[in-house]
Subunit: 245 residues, 2 copies
DNA sequence: CGAATAACCGACCCTTGAGTCGGTAATCTA
DNA sequence: TAGATTACCGACTCAAGGGTCGGTTATTCG
């Protein structure tokens, strides 16, 4: 998963490999920003000299490129997986939302980096272009869901698509995974506060879906909101598989 | 509003003033990122020499500080204004959302900059701290609304507050005001696409409120979708441009 | 053991970019 | 016109940071 390559028994002198450099790079880039980060920072994070980093990668930009590829690949897989099966339109929509949340949590560092890219270089512009195709795919899904009558049609689908992605993507601004993952050291002054960030990935996806699909307003009368993401009651079909994984 | 100072008749040689430098700085910073931007870039944007910039400000960081102050002041005003009157809790909540959208649109450049700050310096950390107090105020509003029974109580209020801000703040990622405002030149490769960004600020706030408070799911038959913001009527109509292209 | 392999290092080059300095050019006021 | 005021400029300093180079060290394979 970390591209760290095979397990044991590698040939020459033991040490770091490309994957490790990219991992460190992602961490440093998200902490200090791509332009604010230095190759020395990355080297220091790995405990090696700056010149040694160049043994693994051709330069700063390659680290960024590899990092963005990782994030984009994961997100594209979410869409591919959500739209290949013959799920209903809302099923696909929810699958995309839940899949995106899951990916964000699993690949938090690289996705965070991706979302901060602003197009200052060819590498960054290429990543933005790939990101945009995901926007389009989501927008198309929204449009289709509207014409299917499964989501309200009184809102501009492009704006809706933006808001949905915006809501999901905003997780990178505050969500921090449970202290299961290593993480190593990090002074990190983040936004770190309240309980919030200890929520499990599953609960998180439930909450995101609840807000996006049903809103904050208290559901009318009888219909209570069971946890299993959403209610539904009279409403059309049994969509909303609530799947995950 | 631009801090550009008084209108006519100023003493010495005519030219730019601090406000102009800050305006240019905000534009450059949001385009290239704070670390990626150079004082030469800012000077060039103003059509003066780099050394002249230092006549107006003490350095790069002062430009950033002034820019962040502008954004923070505007956002804090939204909360102050929303919570001073004796409005209902939901009224306050919606007022904050609408006010934030309006501020984002009106002060798009500086707010965009604020949202990208990561705490790499004292200036940035101070701004983050001020931002955090806004998060807290919103979370408290959500908590109160929940105990008042006006919004669903089955969701973690802190997570909800984050998602609400996340949704609103994500506007800076794609919304571009109508071509009324000057803007001057800008090669800008932004995210620029579809019609979306031409939506008026009012419609935009309507859509954001609609999604946040009522969700995407199509409102049940005769059901409500009552009060203030959102569309209403039997089903669709009214609000939102829905345009495309 | 010796060769191949892979990771690592210190010293160095060179560009970029923040900030400084000693002036010069317009404009208003008196 | 003199002086005050405000904006502007070219040439400079200095440090940081991306990248290069010629080696050195630790392991595995034969």
């Amino acid at each position: 998963m970390t591209t760290t390559g095979n397990a044991s028994a590698r040939r020459g002198r033991p040490g770091h490999d490309v994957g490790a450099v990219v991992d460190a790079g992602i961490r440093i880039f998200t902490e200090r920003g791509y332009d604010g980060a230095t190759m020395d920072d990355i080297a220091a994070a790995l405990g090696i000299a700056k010149s040694s980093v160049y043994h693994h990668v051709s330069g700063k930009e390659e680290i960024l490129r590899r990092a963005l590829n990782r994030a984009l690949g994961a997100l594209e897989a979410v869409f591919d997986h959500a739209t290949d099966g013959a799920a209903s339109t809302t099923g696909q929509l929810e699958s995309v939302v839940r899949g995106s949340v899951a990916t964000l949590v699993a690949e938090l560092p690289s996705v965070t980096l991706l979302l901060r890219v602003r197009g200052n270089s060819d590498t960054q512009r290429a990543a933005l272009a790939r990101r945009r195709t995901l926007d389009v795919r989501l927008a198309n899904l929204v449009i289709q869901a509207q014409s299917d009558g499964v989501i309200r049609a009184d809102l501009d689908p492009h704006v809706v698509a933006r808001l949905v992605f915006g809501t999901v993507n905003s997780l990178t601004e505050w969500y921090r995974p449970r202290a299961d993952d290593h993480v190593g050291d990090q002074p990190d002054h983040h936004i770190g506060d309240k309980a919030a960030q200890t929520a499990g990935a599953r609960d998180l996806a439930d909450t995101v879906c609840a807000v996006i699909f049903d809103g904050l307003r208290v559901p009318a009368l009888g219909a209570v909101v069971p946890n299993g993401p959403v209610p539904n009651g009279a409403v059309p079909n049994g969509a909303v598989p609530s799947v995950a994984s």
